[in-house]
């Protein structure tokens, strides 16, 4: 029982970490960044390269990786997305295409041979309430909570956070009061990429670096988003917790086989009942009339 609670918590925050990068960009700039999985993979991969081949201390490698991905995310917006901003189909095609390009290039060039592992922040495991849990999982809980706290504080108490909130509510109005929506969108995409890297660094140590993990991450980001409602941080957390606990309970009570089925069914159910997600802020018809 205690195991379910603790593992469920870790799983939920893991899912929340995965989803927040995607939802953040979507909520602020309205762009669905389908290259999100690619950022996750690339971030983890770069950290690995800097750590092993280049020999930097791990925390330095991590930070360098985040900086690089921030730049990549911002540049992707500036040179690819900005040109076709507003044409939703083109946005989807471009982000998806670039994402696949990155992922498949990594598959074809960088991943031949042995498995690649990322180190855990604090190796080993400890016991809580008679349940053994890896330290990494605990780190996920801690980092996850910390991250959401920081995000909440930034959006509520800083000027840039205010600018983000303005833009997410009504971009046109934000433009008319002098906010440069392109810079904000660029910045938000960079941050989204950094969030992807953070998620990667927390989660990959639990297993190892795989190319298909990039697609998994994208699916989970979408799944949590659809469940909880994209663009709403509360929605992401709620969606992540529901999915996280559903998965943990299924794995414990039945078997890990059924986890994916449960995920699939959960989404089908939400789509049939409340398609915009539990906390979905889907604009009602009239706001478009």
């Amino acid at each position: 029982m205690a195991g379910v609670i603790i593992f469920g918590l870790a799983k939920s925050l893991e899912l929340a970490l995965i989803a927040i990068g995607f939802s953040f960009v979507f909520g602020i700039s309205g762009i669905a960044n389908f290259a999100y999985g690619a950022f996750y993979l690339l971030g983890g991969f770069l950290a690995y390269i800097f750590f092993t081949s280049v020999g930097l201390p791990y925390w330095v490698a991590a930070i360098v990786s985040m900086i690089i991905l921030f730049v990549i995310g911002a540049l992707m917006y500036r040179f690819a997305v900005q040109r076709i901003r507003g044409a939703m189909l083109s946005e989807v095609i471009v982000t998806m295409g670039l994402g696949i390009f990155i992922i498949e290039m990594l598959r074809a060039t960088g991943f031949i041979g042995h498995n690649r592992y990322l180190p855990a922040f604090i190796p080993g495991y400890i016991e809580i309430a008679g349940v053994g849990i890896e330290n990494q999982r605990l780190m996920i809980i801690v980092i996850g909570l910390l991250l959401f706290l920081i995000l909440w504080a930034v959006t509520r108490y800083t000027r840039i956070g205010l600018a983000f909130r303005a833009m997410s509510q009504d971009e046109l109005t934000a433009l008319s009061i002098g906010l440069n929506s392109n810079y904000l969108a660029m910045f938000s995409m960079g941050i989204g990429a950094v969030l992807a890297v953070i998620a990667a660094l927390c989660i990959i140590p639990q297993g190892f670096l795989t190319v298909d993990g990039a697609y998994e991450v994208l699916i989970y980001a979408l799944a949590v988003g659809v469940l909880g409602g994209l663009g709403s941080t509360v929605g992401i957390i709620v969606g992540a917790f529901i999915l996280g606990y559903a998965q943990t309970i299924t794995a414990t009570l039945f078997s890990s086989q059924w986890v994916m089925v449960v995920t699939f069914l959960a989404i089908v159910l939400v789509l049939l009942i409340k398609p915009s997600g539990i906390f979905g802020k889907q604009k009602e018809l009239e706001e478009r009339v």
Partner: protein, 341 residues
Amino acid sequence: MEQGKKQFRKERIDRGIYARSADIFAVSSWQEMTYLLLPRAVPVILLLAMPLILELTGNTYWAKVMVVLAILGIMAMSWDLLRIAGMFSLGQALFFGLGSYVSAALNHYFHWPIFLTIPVGTLGGALLGTVLLIGTLKLRGIYFAMVTLAFPLLLVRAIQATNFLGGTEGVATDAFPNYWVGAYVSMGALLVCFFGFRRLMNSDWGLVARAIGQDDIAVTASGINVFWRKVQVLFIASGAAAFAGTLITHLLMYAGLSSFSLDYSILPVASVVIGGSGNFAGALLGSAILTFATEALRALGPLRIALYSILMVIFALTVREGIFPYIERRYHQFERKAEII
């Protein structure tokens, strides 16, 4: 007035030869009739003749490629149909896989013959696909894209984990009774789909669907039940893609996880982006280009999909119209330099 150098500008003139009412061309000479019929006849003749030619020259490998072309072509047209009505799908593989699995299950577990599994597989795939996506139709288009992307990938993992329907190994199915049936069913279906979709979109039903893709609020204000129309379009498009899925099941004599693979979602999109959207001819052209590119570049292996995706991005950012509209324009208009007086 500038003296000295003559200045020119490019001028585009229509080769005006026809008057049109409803769907009948009023033409007055053999020359004009050929001009109009030729572009339509060429693909028909090519597609119908190729299997024959290839078989007779012993190129059975390329004959199989033709069937793949038919499959990809149908998928591309199905994607284009959805796009025109405002539904951007990143998961044609969903309908494809559903059609593939339904027909495979009927064939493998219940021993239904091919001429039954294909239609029922098509219908089943269409129904399942429509039901799964019906909730997203009321939301912004991006949700449709996201859900269509996620579903096939989720289904793959669910099937893998539960070993349902053969799990990772898939199920074996019957092949077509002989080469000719397979080849001509595919070619025939491709042509029926092509001309059928064009006829459909030229009708008033199609006009309403196109309008929905542009502005669904205005269509709602015009008294149309937009949701229901979208459901109809979704059903037809998913049926076409499911049909393609049933074809691959019996072509490969196997149905498995690969039916839901991302390739089947991305290649149709790439085909249409490269070939040009909106009139299905571009979809056909683009899928032909990509099918033959896939074969020619076999040596590259997994790099190919990276190539298609980056091509897709480049086209989406720069050329945007696609190749077919360009060809069409050159055919219907001619450019000349006119002097600026």
